[in-house]
């Protein structure tokens, strides 16, 4: 269990987590990059700014 740095909720992570993987927070949906695994350290992933058109 690790805290999401965006919303503070607990993020469930799988066992074989690797540095560099991107996971999303189940509460806020933020994309989180795994910076370290022992202890687990997460940072906001550089978001691909998706253009929803206009």
């Amino acid at each position: 269990m690790t805290e999401c740095i965006e919303c503070g909720a607990d993020v469930t992570l799988h066992d074989d987590l690797e540095v560099g993987e991107i996971v999303d927070c189940a509460t806020c949906g933020a994309e989180l990059e795994v910076l370290g695994t022992d202890p687990v350290e997460l940072d906001t992933a550089p978001e691909l700014e998706e253009d929803w058109g206009e």
């Binding site: 919303c7 503070g8 999303d24 509460t27 806020c28 949906g29 933020a30 998706e50």
Partner: protein, 343 residues
């Protein structure tokens, strides 16, 4: 427990029949309709064709544990004695028992026949009023637009981000089932399809509920859009002091983390980033989320429900579950569909 649905041929009445029939602790023993008396429930609601039940006259009420009234405004206040004679618990979906003060009925409706009963009634919305529901015998399910709005704003009050003096604009978009089964020219498919139609520019009656339960006056405007189920409230909020995203997450997680029927959706990736009716359609879930507009000192709060469920029949069953001490989610397990259209 035995349950009856008065107004069973209507839109919310049909949903109540469906939910009661599928509920592990309730048994549907009666559904009333004057127009469809003696016809099968499936005649009005094709999804219930397999039910072996016929509509009966609302004048002949069976003795039941719980009676759900899904009748137009004014009917319940008129027949409340008969309802309470027939049932231990009455859950009313109309506006008749939502407001505690008779004066509010004078202002927003056409007065009230039985003002002395208003004090007995409990507002059904569990996120707001859970503590008062156990044992309640007269329960008033909230209005659908009011429910969406209150769920969006409540955490801001609980976390003292709003106090009640601020300016709040609520811009609501609703589907056609809100109007009930009765129809009319503006409700015809040819006229109602594809609209973004201002149908209550100002002065909508649900302002009364929001004002009563949150203690704030709101600028409220409702638009009809092209969906059948769903109410979506966009609240534009201007707090007096600056707030951070962290404050907001704290507020919303604080209010809703343990709620079985509220999901937070605020940004993130994919197609569904903020609350929207499609994501909850057919279910009793509400989705709530927010975004910060620092440049304009504004919060935008989004809230989406299915007006047939969280906005009426689902909320009613949820409250009845709590009133009777049942599992809160009993009979309300359906999570909605994906993909889904304009459900």
């Amino acid at each position: 427990m035995r349950a009856a649905v008065v107004g069973g041929s209507g839109f919310t009445g049909g949903e109540l029949c469906r939910l009661v029939d599928g509920h592990p602790d309730f048994e549907l023993v009666q559904a009333t309709s004057r127009e469809y008396e003696n016809k099968t429930v499936g005649h009005a609601h094709p999804n219930l064709r397999h039910l072996d039940l016929r509509f009966s006259d609302p004048a002949d009420l069976e003795s039941v544990d719980v009676l759900f009234a899904a009748t137009p405004h004014g009917v319940s206040m008129q027949h409340i004695d008969a309802f309470q004679d027939a049932a231990d618990t009455v859950v009313d979906l109309s506006a008749d028992f939502r407001l505690p003060e008779a004066s509010a009925y004078d202002e927003y409706y056409d007065g009230h026949d039985r003002p002395e009963l208003l004090a007995d009634a409990e507002y059904a919305l569990p996120e707001l009023n859970r503590d008062n529901l156990p044992g309640a015998t007269l329960i008033a399910a909230g209005g659908c637009n009011a429910t969406a709005s209150i769920l969006g704003l409540l955490p801001l009050f609980e976390a003292d981000i709003l106090s009640g003096d601020e300016r709040v604009v609520i811009d609501v978009k609703v589907g056609s089932s809100e109007g009930g089964a009765s129809g009319g020219k503006a409700a015809s498919h040819a006229e109602r399809s594809g609209v973004v139609r201002p149908y209550a520019p100002t002065g909508h009656r649900h302002e009364a509920e929001i004002s009563e339960y949150l203690g704030i006056d709101v600028s409220f405007t409702v638009h009809a859009v092209d969906m059948i189920r769903g109410a979506s409230a966009t609240c534009h909020v201007f707090p007096d002091s600056p707030v951070s995203k962290g404050d907001l997450w704290g507020a919303y997680r604080g209010s809703y983390e343990d709620e079985p029927f509220v999901r937070l959706a605020s940004g993130g990736g994919g197609v569904y980033r903020y609350p929207e009716p499609k994501a909850v359609a057919g279910s009793n879930f509400a989705e709530v989320g927010f975004e910060l507009d620092a440049a304009n000192k504004r919060l935008v709060v989004f809230s989406a429900i299915d007006n047939m469920m969280k906005g009426s029949a689902g909320q009613a069953v949820h409250a009845a579950n709590i009133a009777y001490g049942l599992d809160e989610t009993a009979g309300l397990e359906h999570t909605g569909l994906h993909p889904v259209g304009a459900p």
